[in-house]
């Protein structure tokens, strides 16, 4: 029993990381149908900038805030310099642009920062908390808490605010969005800023657990992307559930079968789910009449 509990807690810890990364994909995807493969680099920037701002003398909270703001600006720059000039290009081209941007940002981080592995202390210490005979790191609770807060914020944004609806309208029909008075360029800019900010927040929260370096973005983005696909791309509930589910599958496979198979098991489950539900667990089926 304690063993199962331990696997579940480890799974939730990893899953919360995936969920937080997956949530970052939501806004840009909802605004433009683009899966932003530079999302992992936003997570990396969040962690790395915090580390280096902290080394420069800023206390952690201030360093984290700096990281989030700077990363949001990087997101805006990505939109203005790479996405907006390619207006009218097919979504696939835009996705390839984001892959290029992620390679560029990784290279830049290698030069501006370094190639070492970094971490900063957990927010509330490293003494594990005992729950029913199993342990969990306090920082994992921070990550879970962060994922829940971001999820609640995004959910309210898309279902309760007119600005959120305007984002959905922009991706659904950009022409009509302009005709009702939505500044679609502004919507895109805001989406990139928010997504980048959420990515950076994820980086800040997970770094005490996962450590960070210039190249952590690829792996995180891939798992976050898988989680978002599993739950249903664009849906905050999907990102949250998909992330936690992915983490649990990995942890249980690693615990009961072998850690060698944990990635394989996760991807088999994803393939099975997508085979029967191509839009993910919470994905909406689209019903367009023409």
């Amino acid at each position: 029993m304690a063993e199962l509990m331990q696997f579940v807690l480890s799974g939730l810890t990893v899953g919360a990381v995936y969920a937080l990364v997956a949530l970052g994909f939501t806004i840009i995807y909802n605004a433009s149908d683009v899966v932003n493969f530079a999302q992992g680099e936003f997570v990396m920037l969040g962690g790395m900038i915090t580390v280096f701002a902290n080394m420069a003398g800023l206390p952690i909270p201030l360093a984290a805030l700096t990281a989030i703001v700077v990363t949001a600006v990087a997101g805006v720059a990505l939109n203005k310099l790479a996405i907006e000039p390619a207006r009218g290009a097919p979504v696939v081209s835009l996705i390839i642009i984001t892959i290029g941007a992620s390679i560029f940002m990784r290279g830049l981080a290698q030069v501006v920062f370094d190639k070492q592995l970094h971490r900063f202390p957990a927010f509330t210490g490293d003494t594990p908390i005992m729950i029913m005979g199993a342990t969990i790191l306090p920082q994992a609770l921070w990550v879970l808490f962060g994922a829940l807060v971001v999820f609640a914020g995004l959910w309210a944004f898309f279902t309760r605010t007119l600005t959120g609806k305007a984002v959905l309208a922009t991706s659904n029909n950009r022409l009509a969005a302009q005709l009702v008075g939505i500044n679609t360029n502004w919507v895109m800019t805001m989406s990139f800023a928010l997504s980048a900010g959420i990515g950076a927040l994820a980086g800040v929260l997970v770094t005490p657990i996962t450590n960070t370096s210039y190249d952590v973005g690829i792996a995180l983005a891939l798992k976050g992307f898988a989680a978002a696909m599993l739950g249903g791309m664009g849906n905050p509930i999907g990102a949250l559930v998909g992330g936690l589910l992915l983490g649990l599958i990995e942890a249980l496979t690693a615990g009961y079968i072998s850690s060698v198979y944990k990635d394989a098991a996760a991807f088999v489950v994803i393939l099975l789910v997508l085979f029967f539900m191509p839009r993910g667990i919470f994905g909406k089926s689209s019903t367009d009449r023409v």
């Binding site: 007119l162 609806k165 305007a166 959905l168 309208a169 659904n172 029909n173 022409l175 009509a176 969005a177 302009q178 005709l179 009702v180 008075g181 939505i182 500044n183 679609t184 909406k284 689209s286 019903t287 367009d288 009449r289």
Partner: protein, 233 residues
Amino acid sequence: MLNVEGLRSRYGRIEVLHGIDLAVNSGEIVTVVGANGAGKTTLLRCLSGVQPVTGGSITFRGESFTAVPAYRRVGHGLAQSPEGRQIFTNLTVEENLRLGAFLYADDRVEKDMQTAFAMFPILKEKRNLAAGGLSGGQQQMLAITRALMGRPSCLLLDEPSMGLAPIIVAQIFEVVKSMRDLDVTVLLVEQNAYGALKIADRGYVLETGRVTMQGSAAELIADPRIREAYLGI
């Protein structure tokens, strides 16, 4: 209210509007009729700002509109129900209407929505359904009422009768006619020349990017050339 002078526009190297002159006075229903490819939709796209203008000018209520970006025009009182309806298919009917009033957050939004539901009761029935599931006629009703939610003083309608059953077309033209009571000026672009001229005050005939005839709707309906070319009489 709306003045267009020498308007030119092109797609790539091909010019499709070769200098259009057109005026719409406050309170009028004016129609632009013409065959497929005459440039009717391009004209409306220029007016709403989603199509680049390469020459001439657009003036709306005394202000030059030629360089105003599309998303600012509705705030000045010029709203469009575009060709092909262009509703937000993955949002509900009510959300579509709410977004029509994107610029506003006062009590009038709810009032205008009730007015829209009174115009087309079927929309009220389906208010919580995804707009993409509506029939063509219902989508057209939604496109028109969404444009009205933007509180236009001048409404641009692009082919509201396209592809619809005659009974629905009659219902929609009836609503267009009722715009007079709402103090909304209308510029109606139509292939259905007879239906459009019957409810309009004045009309323009557009042929391959030029205005070839204009006059009161009654004159145009009676003109033998129009009767032969567009009315099939």
